[in-house]
């Protein structure tokens, strides 16, 4: 009898846990229920502001990077002390973030303040979903747009109006495992390296038994992997008018063939291994000697015991002609145009854009800040890595991450089409041409 009672209690508690788990992931269910379509995600988005209606003066801030969450919350708390309004971060991972935002935008219930990204910003700005900050910035004595990196400000400008305030800037750099370099007797990467030196080093760092690879390419994120090589080799991804793909440019193909060579020769783990684990996890678990990663990963690598002890960072290698490019990007702080409390939202954004807050963001090691001259604080924010590698990339040729109005469509298409080239079913040249053709078609539709 006793056993049965205990069991039923156990079952009941598991049930409740299960239910809680479900409410954490309602999106999956909503999406699997084909007919419900947007109804449920919209309701989800609605739930967030609805909760706050009680307290009246709480602001929800949506972000997608859990690594940055503690630091961002600290900044929000500082603002709360000044304004007396509570602000709370909600972390929703990258994929779901845009689904939720899209549903919220269609249903008229966006979070109060949220991150904007160049992949999506155009559509949101053109449809008037973001709060127009132009006049507010002009009237503010704390914000002067000339203090931020110009290209990032420009990402969030449409028709001469400004819809988001720059939050950060990122650069890509070469992360390497010192222990593995020492073991193989290879010199650490330095500023003189070309991609060919990189290739030679990767060759020495790869073990035949499959326990260690020289390099892992992050096939899911072009910005921190092959985009840099493409531009180093003199190629491009998209032309300035956003009308034509550069994937069939001979130089682009050359760069992509470089990656192909690394995979074919087994210096990179095969696609199966990368996709199941992710390049950063392989690096963090001591399976690969080098990865190219963005500065947004610093907090993650710092908090990982293994990378903290064994790894460091250097500038990216150069192309054959000595060209060194960093594909960079920066997020913006945006607010909902139809938010309930747009004044508070602006006050928060304004605060986050001030020199003090931007400096603190850098000092906390959250990310490099978009405010010029704050990067040194970021370099000093961790003592386990020499972040100069990332900082020096700011002096390289900066190319803003290629984007167009509907970037996701052709980015996902490219990821899908390149799989055949990574696995060796077709040659890289063929894949590049296919991608270019398909990308041109989708650009024509934009």
């Amino acid at each position: 009898m006793k056993v049965r009672k205990a069991l039923s209690i156990l079952l009941a508690s598991v049930l409740t846990l299960g239910l809680m788990g479900c409410s954490d992931a309602p999106k999956q269910e909503a999406s699997s229920d084909a007919a419900a379509e947007t109804a449920e995600p919209a309701a989800e988005a609605e739930a967030a502001p609805a909760e706050d209606a009680g307290s009246g003066d709480k602001i929800t801030v949506a972000i997608w990077d859990s690594n940055q969450q503690p630091g961002i919350q600290e900044l929000l708390d500082d603002w709360s002390k000044e304004s007396g309004i509570k602000a709370e971060t909600q972390v929703i991972n990258w994929n779901e973030y845009w689904t939720l935002l899209e549903a919220g935008a269609s249903g008229g219930t966006l979070p109060d303040v949220f991150w904007m990204h160049s992949n999506q910003s155009q559509r949101y700005m053109e449809n008037g979903l973001l709060l127009d900050l132009t006049d507010k910035i002009a009237a503010s004595d704390k914000i002067d747009l000339s203090n931020y990196y110009e290209d990032i400000t420009k990402l969030y400008e449409s028709d001469g109006k400004i819809y988001a305030l720059p939050k950060d800037i990122d650069t890509i750099a070469l992360w390497y495992n010192k222990t593995m370099f020492d073991e193989a007797g290879v010199e650490y990467p330095n500023a003189e390296w070309t991609w060919d030196d990189f290739y030679e080093a990767a060759k020495k760092l790869t073990k035949d038994d499959g326990s260690q690879w020289g390099y892992a390419i992050n096939t899911g994120n072009n910005q921190d992997s092959y985009y840099n090589m493409v531009y180093d080799y003199g190629g491009y991804i998209i032309n300035d008018d956003k009308t034509k793909s550069g994937y069939d440019d001979p130089n682009t193909i050359k760069a992509m063939q470089f990656v192909e060579k690394m995979l074919r020769e087994g210096l990179c783990p095969e696609l199966e291994v990368i996709s199941e684990n992710g390049a950063d996890v392989l690096f963090q678990s001591g399976k690969v000697a080098m990865v190219t990663q963005g500065s947004w990963m610093v907090a993650g690598f710092r908090d990982n015991e293994y990378t903290n002890k064994n790894c460091d960072v250097a500038v990216l290698p150069m192309g054959p002609d000595g060209k060194r490019v960093s594909i960079y990007n920066g997020l913006g702080w945006a607010a909902a145009a139809n938010g309930k409390n747009t004044d508070a939202a602006w006050s928060l954004i304004e605060y986050l854009g001030t020199e003090a807050a931007q400096l603190k963001q850098a000092q906390l090691g959250v990310t490099m800040s978009a405010y010029k001259g704050t990067s040194d604080a970021w370099v000093n924010s961790v003592d386990c890595f020499n972040l100069k590698g990332h900082l020096d990339m700011l002096d390289a040729e900066l190319v803003i991450r290629p984007y167009s109005r509907n970037t996701n469509v052709w980015e996902d298409m490219a990821i899908e089409k390149f799989k055949a080239a990574w696995t060796g079913e077709i040659t890289m040249e063929e894949a590049c041409k296919q991608v270019a053709e398909s990308m041109n078609a989708s650009l024509a539709e934009e």
């Binding site: 056993v3 049965r4 069991l7 156990l10 079952l11 598991v14 049930l15 846990l17 299960g18 788990g21 479900c22 954490d24 992931a25 999956q28 269910e29 999406s31 699997s32 229920d33 084909a34 007919a35 419900a36 379509e37 109804a39 994929n95 845009w98 689904t99 899209e102 935008a105 269609s106 559509r123 053109e126 449809n127 979903l129 096939t219 899911g220 696609l271 199966e272 291994v273 990368i274 996709s275 199941e276 684990n277 992710g278 392989l282 678990s285 399976k287 509907n406 996701n408 469509v409 996902d412 990821i415 899908e416 799989k419 990574w422 696995t423």
Partner: protein, 299 residues
């Protein structure tokens, strides 16, 4: 009888009628708002080229459909979905039936076993998928660690869908089992006693008494599971990364719908895909309803 007493019971019948409707009203409203209206909205939307955030949609007639019929990915996804269903539904039903028969006997710890088998049902699907993803991992996964071989369970295009189906079977088998257990309670004991006296073996009893007598339950489970299997999404979404080389050969129709509708913001095309799924499910269910006359026995 009722008809004869018609005049006397009108007021009672009337109140029964009202109460009956009142009691099912919440369900009806829920069905209407959450299922039926969206179905028609989805069909309607599938004739449009949808623009950003649902504003300014352009009517395009059957364009989405003609694009869909030429889209290799859609047919591949349909085939993936069918392969998933072919594996998941029969195996989960057979396993559940066997388990139910064993757990219907008098034995020690029966409740514990029932609880254990039912547990996957109460866990969040997303959590289940995450755990299995790591079990299957080719580098660090427990399964490969135990068998000592490196097998790409979820990134081999030829077999990944079956690995996903195994998760599906594992999650659903307990639920099916509970339904079968309920069905087994309806089977009178004396049938078995009579069969034993006549010398029928356990196997004979199972196929000649148990299966025919709970065939209505089997039919119900089969219909609902086929529909469920055709709507598979969360397992694939959670287990398969978008860089996975096996994704093309694994993604289901609902996954494709999700990608087009939400990632690529092309809701019109996504709707067309889901309408295709609706008709596929409708077709299969109708066939099942017709076929049941041959094998389902109602007392």
């Amino acid at each position: 009888m009722k008809k004869e007493l018609n005049a006397k019971t009108t007021s009672r019948e009337k109140s029964e009628f009202i109460w009956g409707w009142l009691l099912i009203l919440p369900t009806i409203i829920g069905l209407l708002i959450l299922n039926i209206i969206p179905i028609f909205q989805t069909i309607y939307q599938s004739f449009f080229k949808t623009c950003d955030f649902g504003k300014g949609n352009i009517f395009v007639g059957f364009d989405n459909y003609s694009k869909m019929f030429q889209d290799q990915a859609v047919w591949q996804a349909l085939w993936n979905t069918i392969r998933y269903a072919i594996v998941e539904v029969p195996i989960s039903i057979i396993l559940a039936l066997i388990l139910a028969v064993f757990l219907n006997r008098k034995m020690r710890g029966k409740t514990i076993y029932r609880t254990i088998f039912f547990l996957p049902m109460v866990a969040a699907p997303a959590a289940i998928a995450m755990v299995w993803r790591w079990l299957y991992n080719s580098e660090f996964g427990l399964i490969n660690h135990i068998i000592g071989h490196k097998i790409n369970w979820i990134s081999n295009p030829d077999s990944a869908i079956y690995s996903i189906a195994v998760i599906g079977i594992w999650s659903i088998v307990g639920y099916n089992m509970v339904l079968f257990l309920a069905g087994l309670q309806e089977v009178p004991r004396d049938y078995y006693e009579a069969a034993s006296i006549d010398g029928a073996s356990g196997m004979h009893q199972f196929f000649n008494i148990t299966v025919p007598l709970i065939s209505p339950t089997i039919f119900f489970v089969a219909v609902t599971r086929v529909i469920g299997a055709f709507q598979v999404f969360d397992l694939i979404y959670m287990v398969m990364d978008k860089t996975n080389p096996a994704l093309q050969k694994t993604q289901s129709l609902v996954y494709l719908f999700y990608r087009y509708s939400f990632t690529e913001a092309n809701k019109g095309y996504g709707s067309a895909i889901i309408v295709l799924l609706l008709f596929v499910i409708l077709f299969i269910t109708i066939i099942q309803l017709i076929a049941q006359k041959k094998w389902v026995h109602y007392n």
